[in-house]
Symmetry: C2
Amino acid sequence: MKRIGLFLTLTASLIAGSAFADEAAEGAIKARQAMMQLFAFNLGVLGEMAKTAVPYDAEIASAHAGNLLVLSKMSQNGLWPQGSDIGSYPDSAALPDIWSKYPDVLEKDKVLDAAAEAMNAAAGTDLASLQGAMKAIGGACGDCHKVYRQKK
Amino acid sequence: MKRIGLFLTLTASLIAGSAFADEAAEGAIKARQAMMQLFAFNLGVLGEMAKTAVPYDAEIASAHAGNLLVLSKMSQNGLWPQGSDIGSYPDSAALPDIWSKYPDVLEKDKVLDAAAEAMNAAAGTDLASLQGAMKAIGGACGDCHKVYRQKK
């Protein structure tokens, strides 16, 4: 995901007034959850193929891997306003450490970017290539969720 | 949005068994609503700039217009299984005409694609260009919602 988006968000949030910020935060939470939903949906289709629950189809696999790639590249400007964590917004699962350990989030984000690139290159090749790329992208999601998302 | 995605979905849905289809439909509905949420969020930021509720910023405008463009290009494979309309899934606002008037949906989709391209070209230029591109993209959303989405 895009570095600059997150940076701009954090900067803008420190400037924005709090009355505006509450409404903005609710919209941002919905939007970032929507982004996560699309990650999950597209990764889910690839996962079904990887475990041969559905037949491998190069065109369909490429389509979903392509979606993951553009999602990973999408600007996240406005999605993570300071204070929009689970403490203030129970509908969010975002832990406050996202903001206090910000450089680490960016590092994890870069790992996801690389995994999405690799999946995009692999998914349309054959089933074995798709299967080989699953662990890295699933791991990139999990490594961030493990520390920055509230456990259910 | 991508033509082939919708075509594949419809084809696959006619083949898929109904027990599988129900669970798949619920996931598809969530995912397509997530896609719409991201359209709304990104268009919302541009709309705030267009009406000068927030200051024009070429970099931020470009980021959100770029998001709209990739959303419009995203494969929608799997998002619209036959029968996943409001009649069977009250959480969906999708009217059955989406499936019975399918070629018209594609036509409207092409209008959205063109409007997203135009916004992407305009948003980073200046405020007047952004403002000039708003009507077409807002109209493209509305023209499809008016006939294919249940009124609230």
